[in-house]
Symmetry: C2
Subunit: 438 residues, 2 copies
């Protein structure tokens, strides 16, 4: 594929996004419902394309968990359709009035949410990501250029075909709101289209997110792995501690919000650490510890310094004793990835300070790190978990796909009238927000 | 200066930012008031350093307007101090509860505003930008590394010295919250410190903002020039039209929110354009026009295609006839810079459509483009006018220097309890926002 054609795709997406920005909620939802029905109606074609992908993946010896994520069945296709329908059911994130102010009599300013424009979304092998991301983008009035995993190529192609076909039947909704690219070369070209693309959402390894950041001037909503901590304070409740530590490590060890390092206050380590180690060992967790933890627990392997920066995403855990909450906070801010960190304590002021001073997108008290997730957080849908500190942070729902514009309505006012001391002056009076008055 | 020392500065700024994130509003305001007093108390030293800069600038034949921006006097120093005091008087943007939700009984999620961390601010010759940006960053709990214009080197140095000296006298507020760099080489090194710096705010030409975007993986809050349009609709009121056109072009032609292209509906051009041209020519505005405008107005020079993309920032204006509002919107979305665009009309539905479909950070009805400004918009203070579409857009006040974190408070809950159909389920009940309950 030539660069020219990628630029053309990006330009088409931009044109589609400008139209989509003016499409009302009803019409967008009509398109979403048509997309859902189209997937159900063409379930057998989708499954046959998917079996193609699976065959190839097996030949390539794709690992078991990846194969499982790649594989579709009737239920999963129904789930995709259901996912699109629930996005249709969410409130429209566009046109929401966020601020209203009278600047002067007859001169009114509002700040109203609006789409970003064109999203470039790059993701992994799960074909279910295609309808999920497409529907979130369309709902928020954005055009999207999708790049899925190569393993899911046939599945993604037919799914996108069906989504586009469905959109094309809803007059007023531009079909180029959803486009698919398939190769790494196209991704490289896409990253150059900063004239047309407003946000790139890469989901993958830290290295991949970094590659994207290094190769584009388009803003990046990074979704990468997480190095999450649980800190057991001197005032921790033992039973809560055991429950939270086990859940944070074991409930889904491959997830980005699973715990990788356990910090424990030295005052309670003698008492609590052996109990925790027993419980973790029973679940086959490979444990390494600092010198002091090793001296407390027989048979614990010594952690080298690199362990504090390791994201295992597996049944492995590093354990470290600290002498104060300040030491715990300093360790987390130095070694953490700013994803999710939990304190276990009954000391409320300590918890508040921990939650203020730990510089992570989700900070928790007496709760498993695994709660950091768009669905559990009640966001309705999730485009990803952002490791950014700008625009959108932590679990990101539809609000991460919109921005705002200022709308000023006047009656012929000029700035010159306000420029001199003897002229008009601003009232700057906050006005009540009127729902739906975007 | 070696790269090592820039990395050290960035690391110090990071450390300072982590402390500053936990500093309460009173203490931050105390530091701000001390900063204001310090500038007043050392006014004579600041003016003497400034005369040094001026002398050098005159030798270098710096242009008159630049000299005027560089020059300080007693009044301007008092104005700087006053500016800092008004920032102290603004509400604290940190710790604001933006969302509260019960996920389940005894499991409460809040979303609370917090500082970004470390800001890299690069700006032009005005020394007043130093206290302005420093105070906005400190107020929002961020550390800042400043790079001002080389012409203002001596002025900037003494101002930063005084600001740091003032901060150092307020226990608990880290002095490295404000640091200064002075060379282009240091800027290049600063752009590499993505481990420590969270946002770069460049203020300058489009080319400079682009240079910054091309040379960093740190998010960039671009502030560049603007290509603003006024569109005179078929239903425009003639008197409002004349007032707005003149103000948008003439009130401050060098500003980024001044009009560069005038679009006029062909139905009213015959009637209105000669009158506008007379008024603009009387103010010595150099006019160029499309073929059709030239045929309507004697002596108008023909605009070549490049004019539609030209940002004059000067007494020059390009004029184009359009046959519909759709043509005007398409022209603006193609050639505009997404800054500020105005429609003049008495047709409310047309105005609403224009304001929805023009993809600019500020869209206006019957008001001068020159209103697009943080002070006029009532934001209290302005870090810049962002040409981004992510994070912060348009005139940006303190809210552009903060992000949020999620805080989850539980009582020992685990995700496993919610994972099975026979387990607990989420209530996801919105809770009222309690002011100051961050």
């Amino acid at each position: 594929m030539s660069n020219k054609s990628l630029e053309e795709m990006a330009e088409k997406a931009k044109m589609a996004s400008l139209i989509l920005a003016g499409v009302n909620a009803d019409l967008k939802n009509q398109a979403l419902l048509a997309m859902a029905s189209a997937l159900e109606a063409h379930s057998s074609e989708i499954l046959s394309a998917n079996s193609h992908d699976l065959e190839f993946a097996k030949k390539e010896n794709l690992a078991g968990p990846l194969l499982a994520r790649l594989a579709l069945n009737e239920n999963k296709v129904a789930g995709m359709a259901q996912g699109i329908r629930s996005v249709a059911g969410l409130p429209d994130p566009v046109g929401e009035c966020q601020m209203a102010m009278e600047l002067d009599e007859g001169l009114t300013l509002t700040r109203v949410s609006c789409p970003l424009g064109v999203i470039g979304a790059i993701f992994e092998s799960r074909p279910d990501a295609v309808p999920q991301i497409s529907s979130l983008c369309l709902k928020s009035g954005n055009a999207v250029i999708l790049k899925g995993g190569t393993e899911a190529q046939h599945s993604n192609r037919i799914i996108v075909e069906q989504l586009r076909e469905a959109v094309s039947k809803v007059p007023g909704v531009p079909v180029d709101a959803i486009q698919l690219i398939e190769t790494r070369e196209e991704v490289a070209e896409m990253l150059k289209q900063d004239e047309y693309i407003n946000l790139v959402v890469p989901r993958g390894s830290n290295a991949f997110v970094r590659y994207v950041q290094d190769n584009t001037r388009i803003p990046v909503l990074g979704h990468s792995e997480g190095l999450c901590h649980v800190y057991i304070d001197a005032k921790a409740d033992p039973d809560k501690t055991v429950a939270i530590v086990l859940d944070s490590k074991l409930q889904y060890p491959a997830a980005c919000n699973a715990m990788e390092t356990l910090l424990i206050h030295s005052e309670v380590a003698t008492h609590l650490l052996p109990r925790l180690v027993d419980a973790l060992r029973e679940k086959n967790v490979d444990l390494v510890g600092c010198a002091r933890s090793c001296s407390l627990v027989p048979g614990l392997n010594r952690a080298d310094d690199a362990e504090w920066d390791a994201e295992y995403n597996d049944l492995k855990l590093a354990i470290k004793l600290v002498d104060s909450m300040d030491d715990a906070i300093a360790h987390i801010n130095r070694h953490g990835s700013g994803h999710t960190d939990t304190i276990i304590t009954e000391d409320t002021p300590a918890a508040d300070r921990f939650m203020n001073e730990v510089d992570s997108s989700s900070v928790m008290l007496n709760a498993s790190t695994r709660f950091a997730d768009g669905f559990r957080f009640g966001l309705g849908a999730e485009i990803g978990i952002s490791t950014n500190k700008t625009h959108a942070r932590g679990p990101v729902g539809l609000e991460g796909l919109v921005i705002y514009k200022y709308k000023l309505k006047g009656q012929g006012q000029t700035v010159a009238e306000y420029a001199n001391s003897n002229g008009k002056s601003f009232t700057h009076k906050k006005l009540p927000l009127v729902p739906g008055d975007g």
